[in-house]
Amino acid sequence: MQTSSAFLQLLVAGISTGSIYALIALGFNVVFKSTGAMNFAQGEWVVMGGMISALLLGTFSSVGVACLLAVLLVAIFGLLSERLVIRPLRHPTALLITLVSIGLSICTRSFVMLTLGKKPVGYPGFSGATTISLGGVTFQAQTLWIVGLTLAFLVIMHFFFERSMLGKALRAAAADREAAAIVGVRVETTILISFGIAAFAGALAGAIITPLTLASYDQGAMFGFKGFSAAMLGGVGSLPGAVVGGLALGLLEAFGSFYISSDFKDAIAFAVLLLILFVRPSGLLGRADVVKV
């Protein structure tokens, strides 16, 4: 009984952290699809989501409203970042965008530190500090919010990319920029939108995890690398891959830190990243695109 409840406890923890990683990985994948680049500013947007939510909570009494506004603000920040930093590049190759995004991440971190401070911030969950006990497992109600909101966001993204014309245009531009321009898609706009979506996803992750972990300006790099590992694990550029990679990484961390040692919690993500790069660089669900010429 003892071990089975420990198992369930770890399962819950793994799924909730995994949801966060999935959201961050989705941000990586959306930008990768549209530009071929890895956007290392992704993790900073997670931190921004949490810190701005905390700030807004001073003005708005409802956690939900504060978080929603914060996520929207960060999404706008993502759009602005693209306009100011990526769009002006004269020859926007994937490597160049990746390098520029590292600069963007450093600037964003400093910006967050200077405007929002160095102190870690936190706020209560969407249902206060309510805890739920189920079959010998006790967890915070916020865990359910995390899983639920992540799931809802992923479903919306799925329909956006598969059903809406704008989503299809994003996929088309990702598949072949020139061909997309030929059918009248403004490719720069699709890149802009993908940065907006990525920032939204990151900020959402930050806003919903902060009640459990606190947010501080210097966590961005770690969030970024975890999300990056999850994206690589699932298969970079694949939407279902972000979910699978995020959940797998969250569970591996939860179980690994319990059964091996919690000192290794962060090392697990990097071990997984190395392993996947050695064994299956295209990721679990990734595949090389099949093109007949």
Binding site: M165, L166, K168, E178, V183, V290, V291, K292, V293
Partner: protein
């Protein structure tokens, strides 16, 4: 329909086209023949609005379009690009939808469904494979899809860049039958081809492009029997 005047264009410091002029009358089928590297694709890209010319002007349906690049595609002019350039990971049907992108976004034009039915009628093989990723189609099917995608914008001028490239002779025949049929139904066509033989047989007039300049223009029947054209482009 299309009027190109004294057009020069290139990439960076390399000038590819020098003072090119050509015109396509409404409903006419015109071909542009020339060797690999003569500048055919560059000219097509300029006309489609994908490349900004360094000098000269382009008028479509009597309105100057030199500056309004993005207004051309999706409205009146459609390009079937060299190498087909279908959206490989997307399904055949989605590729066709993308062809009508400017009619579906931001506002949905209800008549698009009818055009899709028309394309499926023209290429029944695309109907059969509509749910498959375009990247898995054969070369000929991808060419049909590229043409179908272009037709989805309801162009009055269809630009075809090397539609025969890399295809088996039998498939090339089939593609050209379709091109002639579209022209017979009233569509203006500008066809760039290395396969001069096929091109001259389906176009009324032909321009010969060499090293970025128009060196000959004549009725197709005249070009076909011209000894220098026969020697240089028809391999006879």
């Amino acid at each position: 329909m299309l009027e190109v005047n004294d057009l020069s264009a290139g990439y960076g410091n390399t000038q590819v086209l020098h003072h090119v002029s050509l015109h396509v009358a409404p409903g006419q089928s015109v071909c542009l023949i020339g060797a690999n590297g003569a500048g055919k694709t560059t000219l097509m890209r300029c006309i489609a609005g994908l490349l900004r010319p360094s000098a000269g002007r382009i008028a479509i349906s009597d309105s100057d379009m030199t500056a309004a690049a993005s207004a051309r595609l999706g409205f009146g002019v459609a390009l079937v690009p060299e190498g087909r350039r279908v959206f490989a990971p997307m399904s055949v049907r989605e590729n066709l939808e993308m062809g009508a992108f400017r009619r579906l976004w931001p506002r949905r034009d209800r008549t698009v469904a009818g055009d899709m039915a028309m394309v499926f009628d023209l290429f029944p093989r695309l109907w059969e494979r509509q749910k498959q990723p375009a990247g898995l189609l054969s070369g000929g099917e991808q060419q049909m899809l590229a043409i179908g995608r272009a037709l989805m914008s309801r162009p009055r001028l269809l630009l075809l860049d090397e539609p025969s490239m890399g295809l088996a002779p039998r498939v090339v025949q089939e593609i050209f039958v379709t091109i002639r049929r579209l022209n017979a139904e009233g569509m203006s066509i500008l066809l760039a081809e290395q396969n001069a033989n096929m091109a001259l047989r389906s176009a009324a007039r032909g321009y010969v492009l060499a090293e970025g300049e128009i060196v000959r223009v004549a009725e197709s029947s005249v070009l076909v029997s011209d000894p220098s054209v026969r020697a240089a482009y028809l391999g006879l």
